[in-house]
Symmetry: D2
Subunit: 337 residues, 4 copies
């Protein structure tokens, strides 16, 4: 007779290497009766067989209301990706007192780091200068820096104040920026307590020298940064797009950057991999990277650390402290590919 709690480990598209390193495997085997499936989503057979006893599900297993009903011992669902998928009934999970948790905070520092890197590269013109150097057309010192500007004491806008923005904030702090935020879910007073200024979308777009697009995509905000909005960005500002390509009208966004309305760094695309013959693949003032912002070895280490810490808490009937909890209404709005 097995008395250990059952844990279902179904982390696809996360791989063993990302979330099931030998230390994790060893500890989970000590703590639990462990059912694992890698390489694709666990088949119905495995999930259904686990439901009567499962206490923790790790991964993005479909968990509609009916399945939640068949999982009477379930204490937590731990999504080891960084987003809320639409395959869970978040309200029902809340009703049943099941923690639904996401590893988004584990990825956010790596994303925040590249945001700083992109912002400095754009403001200071590093890549343009590098290209000039290769071709022998560079100038030196202030002659080269005519259009360069600094993060120090600059105006910064955040679109969205979630995990990414919260990780970016301490990195910006020593630069003494004046930060305004557009986030319709948060009150002006709350933002003020965080040292930030609430602003409407038009203000955030039109008044800042650096603009970080940090919001996820929901069924409500797809392409909300359309041509009309994007044209408000001006003044040779630097725009960093790292969260989700779907929140902007992507072709328009690229087009305006190529026409030098603003400088841009882009890490996410409507279609990944980007087609080989894509029009984006050409020299311009835009810095392109291939969705590298969050997926770092150190991010997966963070995920494993947070996941194991919260699993230990949950198995002791203590509240989890490290991963992010779903807000049902917000989670239901999230859209995912």
């Amino acid at each position: 007779m097995n008395k250990k709690p059952l844990i279902l480990f179904d982390p696809f598209p996360r791989t063993k290497e990302m979330v099931f390193t030998p230390d994790v495997e060893k500890e989970l085997n000590n703590l639990s009766y462990l059912v694992t499936h890698f390489g694709k989503r666990a088949p119905k057979r495995i999930v259904e067989k686990s439901l009567p006893d499962v206490e923790i599900i790790i991964g993005q297993t479909d968990m509609p209301k009916e399945r939640l009903h068949r999982a009477p011992k379930l204490k937590a669902i731990i999504n080891v990706k960084a987003n809320w998928e639409p395959n869970i009934d978040y309200y029902e999970a809340q009703r049943r007192g099941i923690y639904v948790l996401s590893a988004a905070p584990a990825m956010a520092p790596a994303v925040a780091e590249v945001c700083i890197g992109y912002a400095i590269a754009l403001g200071r013109g590093i890549i343009q200068n590098y290209k000039k150097f290769l071709s022998g057309s560079e100038k030196y010192g202030i002659a080269e820096n005519k259009n360069a500007y600094t993060l120090f004491n600059s105006s910064v806008g955040f679109i969205g104040f979630g995990n990414l923005a919260r990780s970016l904030l301490p990195l910006l702090k020593p630069f003494n920026c004046n930060i305004s935020v557009y986030d319709p879910w948060l009150s002006a007073r709350y933002l003020e307590t965080q040292g930030l200024k609430a602003a409407n979308l038009n203000e955030v777009l039109s008044t800042n020298k650096f603009l970080f697009i940090l919001t996820g995509v929901t069924s409500e905000n797809e392409s909300f940064l359309n041509k009309e909005k994007l044209k408000l960005i001006g003044n040779d500002s630097s725009v960093i797009l790292v969260s989700r390509a779907e929140v902007v009208e992507f072709d328009t966004f690229i087009d305006l950057a190529e026409k030098n309305f603003y400088r841009a760094a882009v890490d996410v695309f409507p279609e990944e991999p980007v087609p080989l013959d894509s029009q984006y693949r050409k020299e311009s003032n835009i810095i392109y990277t291939s969705h590298i912002a969050g997926a770092l070895h150190s991010s997966y280490k963070n995920i494993r650390d947070m996941m194991m810490d919260d699993i230990r808490q949950i198995l002791k009937n203590h509240p989890p402290t490290r991963l992010q909890r779903a807000e049902p209404r917000q989670a239901e709005l999230r859209r995912d590919r």
Copy 2:
């Protein structure tokens, strides 16, 4: 009869645009009887005529002992560049109670900013990834990030702990790095009070993932980072060279980086402009920029702000608080082109 103090403003190679903006001109004309010379060093005639009455010299005017003796009212020499030139008798100025001041702290934040930008670009492989993207050979997410690493929780070495390092330190703080420092002028205990670990040169070179070369060149340390030392850097570390090219054996430094012993970002060169046919002008893993780190509009604004603040203090017989004071022994050691 003129009772206003005489100020000699001789800032070459700084230009009017850099240090003599209309607000500066207006205030200095109010405060002083102002003698100015731009475009090259003030000729002997002008300097000699000013000596009997001059109270403040702004610029890099030659001030050997004999001239200091002929300037009985001189209170301060304000070097609006960032280095100590060998054309002042620093000990004699100290004996006479003359403040010798440098604007180095005004340039340091801009340099620190690009240091962070270079470090992130190198560690995260941003430029390599960008090049791959243009050519269609990029991968996505962790597949692209196999060799990427982060500043967060990393080991960092400073070579030199002067103005540049002091400005870089707060920018690194939120990344929670473990920082060790080689600076032969400073005690281990002092560095400890700053939250840093003293280390010898070999340790700093061989044990850190990020290495910032931040020391100026003196008659004693030229090319002290020679081949033997540079070969200690390894482990695919990221090396940022922003202070003075002369402290390294430059060709060796480039050669080792091209051979991927380490990653490198280079903003300073033994000869500037770099000759058009220089071997450095080729695609490699090195990020080159053309001495852009400090010479930003905002840096000149800082210089003007610090300069005017300290001029006001000095004319009231109050100690200056913003610019850096010369340590005679250190200043005498500085070498300049």
Copy 3:
């Protein structure tokens, strides 16, 4: 026909002056159909009549499962005191998606402030020195300071890491203390991410120069600091008791402090008001205050600010961000007088 949401405002023992200032009254009347009751708990009649329509309850109204069932529109219960009372079915509220919120974070800064004041007064012997001065028996400088000690670089123990400890932490930060924490609800790894060291109770009691008792009382921890535990505190340490008297064997705690095993500051008592003939009312090395730590005008201002901010969020169907959310299991364990 009234379309505004119904809010039941039943804040006793909070008074109008504390939580229903004219600005609050005005805004709530704009936002809602408002039912208020002051001076004692709202009578059954008023509560029952409100249940069918009430969207937010402010106060400590009894809300067992049956009442929750009769309040189909209820979105939030806002306890404007700082504790969880046993008169709410916390699990049922969770099942129904009702936010149960507490104003504890609003009171915590004022408590943290006096904690610092008490710690310095104890360590530095301020009140003893003051008494000596009045009687003419004081010495001066180091002669008086033979047993004085400082918070700087000292060892500090927290018993409990909740709202109070979280507010105390930033105030201690510039003193560079080495802080260890006993909190059975939190993992060692979590505490480490907060810059703290987890320790068992015996370690925390026996190894720190300053000890802050910051835990609330639950049905499980009453008097857990009994004689055996209290005798572990030694070394002339300074002990600050500000959360709840019930967590210590109070008479033993006082007795050991009077016998100089440790220094103590006490703001909470098993019976309040303390009887006039209490044995505590005598000169000793103990600093007594009369439950003044949290109940400051500024604390009530914080409560009103947080309460109104979250009410606005909740009425927009946005998640509250300022007040603390109940963890059902922890809230159920809380005991209150």
Copy 4:
């Protein structure tokens, strides 16, 4: 033939216990040929005999111009007290390139700590409440706190921005105060770069809820806080006097505090020890302590640490980094008993 540098250690009124602990003695004997004198100032005979060879003087030895001339090897005079005495020719020392150093920064943290303790005790009424508790006249919670106020978000004034203020500043930072400063030696712009607001004396006195008198006494500022100025303090503010009694008209200062124009904490007196029959020795709202603010064991440890660190630097011909350097004009103005 002795080749070690000669150090004259003449630290009176500092004692062996304070500045010449066994570790110091051992290291100094290794580093130098050591001449020591304790218990009173070294007699003329010893000083004069040392002059030809002495490289470092530790203590407050008289060093007028003539003696400086007879000490050709002298590199530094290290005053192990916290003030500048008038028995040194500071300008001549500067002319000769002799570092004149003070241990003031070593004492400042301990003083800053009690400043915070006094401010909280005054604002929160801790000692008054304690007295009421002993006599059975206390109330509880907000009823007792009618006149209590907090440091959080309060207005704070500094009189003087030297070592004490610089140590106090980080301790105040988490309280989010609005700090204005009166210091005639410093520019408004400099204070702004430190996050502070410059103000004239009348503004600082009349507009702040907490007032810290942190300035030393000079020949120019004795009793500058006279009755006319002190009457500007009002509004039941809390005034902390810890630097030097001579900067205020002391009897007036006490009288106004006893009449409740403001609350006061006083650690320094015009005459110490205070006469037994002093009128100050009576119950009032004033907190008196007997010059205990700085003279802590930990302060002497800091002095020894800084002194030894800088001695090592100076003997290597490196600049000292830990102790404070004299500004001749300011040092000459200092007055001492």
